[in-house]
């Protein structure tokens, strides 16, 4: 689903960016934004803030299911390929073993299971995060440059049903934002 919907809000405004001075301020602000019922918003921090996912009310990622399906596909594919090659397509007696010598197929089955699961994890993560993304309106903001240094941000996107340029900005200010900025698309 995230893959199919457009990556960024359409319309004149991307959304509102609010800067917070400390992780504590951000954490509590996230709880309030969550409780206000916003759905299309994000938090940006220079380092992982423990428990922020709960404060934001994030649902659990579907990534484990992608990894499981990919892992099983890889394992089944690896086993099936060897089965077909050794027992059907090119039946050769190797080291006096039967054509279908399943123990010999386990290492490759395991390796392909791990390989595909890793592909699922990496590319699934990129897909769910809608990466790579070559343009993002947040980078127009001057203060947002400090997101990798010492500042903490909440961005609420304009296509959120509860978004209102002035009311949302006031809400963020009331939550202790150091600065609030309306960003163009």
């Amino acid at each position: 689903m995230p893959l199919l919907r457009p990556q960024l809000p359409t319309g004149p405004h991307y959304g509102i960016l609010a800067e917070f001075a400390t992780p504590t301020d951000l954490y509590h602000a996230c709880e309030r934004v969550r409780d206000a019922g916003f759905t299309r918003w994000d938090a940006h921090t220079p380092f992982p803030v423990h428990g922020l996912d709960k404060a934001m009310g994030l649902r659990r990622s579907p990534l484990p299911w992608i990894v499981l399906v990919m892992g099983l596909t890889g394992a089944a594919g690896g086993f099936g390929l060897q089965w077909w090659v050794h027992a059907d397509a090119y039946p050769l007696v190797i080291s006096g073993k039967p054509y279908f010598a399943w123990p010999a197929m386990i290492p490759i089955t395991f390796e392909l299971g791990v390989l595909f699961a890793a592909f699922g994890a990496v590319f699934g993560m990129l897909g769910l995060n809608r990466l790579p993304m070559h343009y993002h309106p947040l980078f127009k903001s001057k203060v947002f440059e400090r997101v990798t240094d010492d500042a903490f941000f909440i961005s609420i996107e304009s296509w959120d049903p509860r978004f209102d340029p002035s009311a949302t900005g006031k809400l963020l200010e009331s939550l202790g934002a150091r600065s609030v900025e309306l960003l163009e698309s």
């Binding site: 992982p48 428990g51 659990r60 006096g96 123990p103 010999a104 290492p107």
Partner: protein, 404 residues
């Protein structure tokens, strides 16, 4: 901001078994089981001593491996300075504090050396080149010296850590943690060597012609899974019984579940690697052991072990929710505990019954006897102290532990 940085403290009534609690009766129940088991063993064992010795060996190895698994677990926690598991450490400490008692439970095995170990029968090596070659290692005096050495070393490590941790309950001295941490690294190495040799002596040498270079790791892997399975069952049982129910959280259960899953897979990896190389190389002195387990009803047990010790728990324990709920984690733990017993049974019993699986009442009696002693000793120790290391410097961290 987050719970991690808040200092969480125990309430004084939390970490002990209250006076009228039903768990106070466990030592008596265990002792009654032990006496009953020993009496039945004595009666049935008179008629069939060989079966008795093998049944006793399996049950002895099962409970010993749980104690050794606990010793590994606690030493690894110290060596890695793990914080999350501090609230669970006392369960491990109580489990491995039974090691000196295990030495006493080993005595019946000594009376059955000739019945258990064909190499120990006088004259066994006379017309057997391989046994002659192995005789400098596989002879009764050296076997006894080694057994005494294992139990001496294990008891020393066990009591060092048990006493250290309990002493810290009183003094609260953080240097105890530092001292035990310094000893943990070398301790793990010593433990790995002794448990390897013990498994060679007590399991591998049942088939004295057999060669396998992986058996020690296989025994360790099984022991570790066994203890983590026991830990999950005990942790859940405690929560259900109202002990540590507010101390051990779903977060701790999830980490036990992760350990259980990981070492179940590790056991599979080692078990398969041992089989795979022997199967591929196809050398007679290596394949004899597996050949006995790939015929008749032992093959059924082998397949059951592959499914029950790997395939089923692999999918069962994979999910997050399963590891966080009392009931589901305990089911997984109890299942793997049973599988660990099947694993040891499958390692030992084909020597006695090469023709196929022959269950015996003595299997049950020996299990009840050894298990009764184990439960009695562990629950007796539980009553005498706090159920968590009260003044470990990392206790607050462990109480507040959360998975990311």
């Amino acid at each position: 901001m987050t719970a991690e940085h808040d200092l969480v403290a125990l309430r004084p009534e939390q970490p002990t078994i209250p006076p009228e609690h039903p768990w106070n009766r466990l030592p008596v129940i265990g002792a009654v089981c032990a006496v009953l088991g020993i009496v039945v063993c004595a009666i049935l064992g008179m008629g069939n001593p060989k079966q008795f010795f093998f049944s006793w060996l399996v049950s002895f190895l099962f409970f010993l491996s749980l104690a050794l698994g606990a010793l590994f677990f606690v030493l690894i926690q110290y060596a890695s300075q793990g914080g999350w598991g501090i609230v669970l450490r006392r369960i491990g400490e109580i489990t491995f504090a039974t090691v000196p008692m295990m030495a006493a439970l080993f005595i019946p095995v000594l009376f059955g050396l000739h019945d258990l170990f064909s190499w120990s029968v006088p004259g066994a090596a006379e017309h057997d080149a391989l046994l002659q070659w192995k005789a400098p290692f596989l002879n009764i005096p050296f076997f006894l010296i080694r057994a005494a050495l294992y139990f001496g070393i294990w008891s020393f490590i066990a009591l060092l850590y048990y006493r250290g941790s309990r002493g810290q309950d009183v003094t609260g001295d953080p240097r105890v943690s530092a001292r035990l941490r310094r000893f943990a690294g070398p301790g793990i190495i010593v433990l790995a060597l002794t448990s390897t040799f013990a498994s060679v002596d007590w399991i591998m040498s049942l088939t004295p012609h057999w060669y396998s270079t992986m058996f020690g790791v296989y025994f360790f892997a099984g022991s570790f899974v066994g203890f983590i399975a026991l830990l999950s069952v005990v942790a859940v049982a405690m929560r259900q019984a109202g002990l540590l129910d507010t101390v051990i959280s779903a977060e701790h259960l999830q980490d036990i579940g992760k350990f259980l899953f990981a070492f179940m897979v590790f056991w599979t990896y080692i078990a398969f690697s041992q089989f795979f190389l022997i199967w591929y190389g196809n050398l007679p002195e290596e394949t004899i052991w597996y050949r006995a387990r790939m015929e008749g009803s032992w093959l059924t047990v082998s397949i059951f072990l592959m499914a029950g010790h790997f395939a089923v728990p692999f999918f069962y324990l994979m999910g997050r929710a399963v590891k966080r709920r009392n009931s589901t984690l305990a089911v997984g733990g109890a299942w793997l505990l049973a599988m660990h017993f099947v694993d040891l049974y499958w390692q030992v019993m084909p020597t006695l019954h090469p023709e196929g699986l022959r269950l015996s009442a003595l299997d049950v009696a020996a299990f009840v006897a050894v298990g009764g002693c184990f439960v009695a000793a562990a629950s007796w120790l539980m009553r005498r102290q706090a159920l968590v290391p009260l003044r470990d410097p990392r206790l607050a961290e462990s109480l507040a532990f959360e998975n990311v």
